[in-house]
Amino acid sequence: MSETTAPVAAGLKVKRRAFLVDVFIRLVKTKPLGTVGLAIVLLLFVVGIGADLIAPYGYNEVDLGSRLATPGVGGHVLGTDHLGRDLLSRIIYGARISMIVALGASSLAAVLYITIGVISGFFGGKVDMIIQRFVDAVMAFPGLVIMLTVISVLGPGLMQIVITLGILGGIGGRVRVVRSAVIAIKENVYVEAARAIGSPPFTTMMRHILPNIFAVIIINFTVEMGGVILTESTLSFLGFGIPPPFPSWGAMLSESGRRYMLLAPWMAVWPGLALSLVVYGINMLGDALRDLLDPRLRGGLGRYGRLKGVITK
């Protein structure tokens, strides 16, 4: 019987991978801006991971002999700052920090808002009401004030930023987005069918609800990433973020960028440009993914999965 087992099992795997490959192909074909966004995000990851190999200098390599060097002078492609540190290298190491913050905080947030949102939407009733009133309360607070408070208690640092942003992102408005997606899916007859065959609630959630809100999760994850990078920069700019000498883009803008703005404008221009570019790229990617994955929008996957003819086995 192994003969029948193998092709079926293999078939499952092929289809699973095909879903993401399919999304990728359609992204490239139909969404030029989204493709650019994807390229920017991939660039961020490559640079962030390979920072040690790519950067020409260390991020805190002080060279007082060539302070405030103009871009292109003395082998410093993007110039140097007031301590003679190579700006290109600092931008590259800054990409690593942005990447860690973006992935770490968005993942932590995703785990939280998926768990809370699915429970809230699936069980409904009193559970839902209590959770939603809690979310209301969280959303009523000004986010920045909470973050500043929490970080002044925890002290600045990469880990603190990731955890704070992750938790705050995970108990706020995105819970509601997931919840409403779950409520829509829950009304499908196949969820009732699962109940009729005696499937326990947890199994139903894992097997039927989660795969069907996958698109919503991807979109939220992407948008959250952009937001988190910006928030980290805001915090760093205000001096509550990553402590020096670590090269957070936001900190580079504020700590010295402002002071030397007229003397060496490139000190503020490069991190600002990097920041805008990455956030723009992530947002473009998120938008494109929403268009591709939301079955209600034309050109999406349609009600029952991918478009016919796109995938040939």
Binding site: P7, Y190, E192, A196, I197, S199, R207, R303
Partner: protein
């Protein structure tokens, strides 16, 4: 009716849904979807349940399976009162009773393969070990006349009839004793309907199944059912053998329904006198006093507006709830 031959015994089944309003979700009224319904189903029987949409036939089916917990009444399944059990025990008892859905498009998870959909009940109840899974699924595919090699396809790659077969195979996976067929053919076109009906008949004979067959297509119900209950506004108005019901309908509502069935012979069709039921079904939130059917009945008489008629046996095995019978 020999007592031990009864598979399902429904006693006074009642299902009210609350209508809430305001900030505090106060209950302001209730929809009487099913109101004091009783009947028995023998092993191996096909029990038809017919009525207009909104009359509570689907709710009755769901309440028997405990997908809705009934407001009142008892549902004995092989002498166990299903309304009293819950949680894990109820979950295990679902092995014995399954549901086939009306809409073959909505009842299959679009992100699961056909093989996984059909095999899901086996997994949920831990009935198969690794290698057996594919075998069992292949067997179920053959049982409903689908090709086992289609197991790795997704629902949208099947036609409506094939999807309904998948739904049937899923219901059969646990080898249940009772299957509630909730309008299993109404969403299909006529040629496919016949195939599915034949399949259901064959499966009943081969596997010794008992069906509750919910439908509004009267000719389909006559063909497949042994006995038929007619529902109106949450109540059963007539129960009898299916041929008896069609040849000798006693309740005015049944007579009206049957007269709406087209006869495939224009000459006969033109000559017969049609009974036209006027008006709409009254709201189940606020049913009319007395016999629920009195505002639309063509043979209404004095007592109909005061007393609610009891379901009584008029001739042997023919139960009618009408003051005139």
């Amino acid at each position: 009716m020999a007592e031990d031959n009864v598979l399902v015994d429904v006693q006074g089944l009642t299902m009210y849904f609350p209508v809430t309003a305001g900030v505090f979700r106060r209950k302001v009224a209730e929809v009487r979807a099913v109101d004091d319904v009783s009947f028995q189903i023998k092993k191996g029987e096909t029990f038809g349940l017919v009525g207009e949409s909104g009359c509570g036939k689907t709710t009755t089916g769901r309440a028997i399976l405990q997908l809705y917990r009934p407001t009142a009444g008892k549902v004995f399944f092989e002498k166990n009162d299903l309304c009293k059990i819950g949680g894990e025990e109820l979950r295990r008892s679902r092995r014995n009773m399954q549901l086939i859905f009306q809409d073959p498009y909505a009842s299959l998870d679009p992100r699961m393969t056909a093989g996984n959909i059909i095999g899901e009940p086996l997994r949920v109840h831990g009935l198969v070990k690794g290698s057996e899974f594919q075998e069992q699924v292949a067997e179920l595919f053959k049982l409903v006349e689908l090709e086992p090699r289609m197991a790795d396809r997704f629902p949208h790659e099947f036609s409506g009839g094939q999807r309904q077969r998948i739904g049937i195979a899923r219901a059969l996976a646990l080898r249940p004793k009772l299957i509630v067929c909730d309008e299993p053919v109404s969403a299909l076109d006529v040629s496919i309907q016949a195939q599915i009906i034949m399949l259901l008949e064959r499966l009943r004979e081969e596997l010794g199944l008992t069906y509750i067959f919910i439908a509004h297509d009267l000719s389909v119900v006559r063909y497949i059912s042994d006995r038929v209950a007619v529902m109106y506004l949450g109540k059963i108005v007539e129960i009898t053998g299916s041929d008896e019901l069609y040849d000798n309908p006693m309740h005015p509502y049944t007579q009206g329904l049957l007269s709406a069935v087209p006869i495939p012979n224009p000459r006969v069709d033109r000559q017969r006198k049609r009974i036209l039921l006027t008006g709409d079904v009254p709201s189940p939130v606020n049913p009319p006093p007395g016999c629920h059917f009195n505002p639309r009945c063509f043979a209404v008489k004095a007592g109909c507006k005061e007393a609610e008629p009891e379901l009584k046996e008029v001739t042997k095995g023919h139960w009618v709830a009408c003051h005139r019978a």
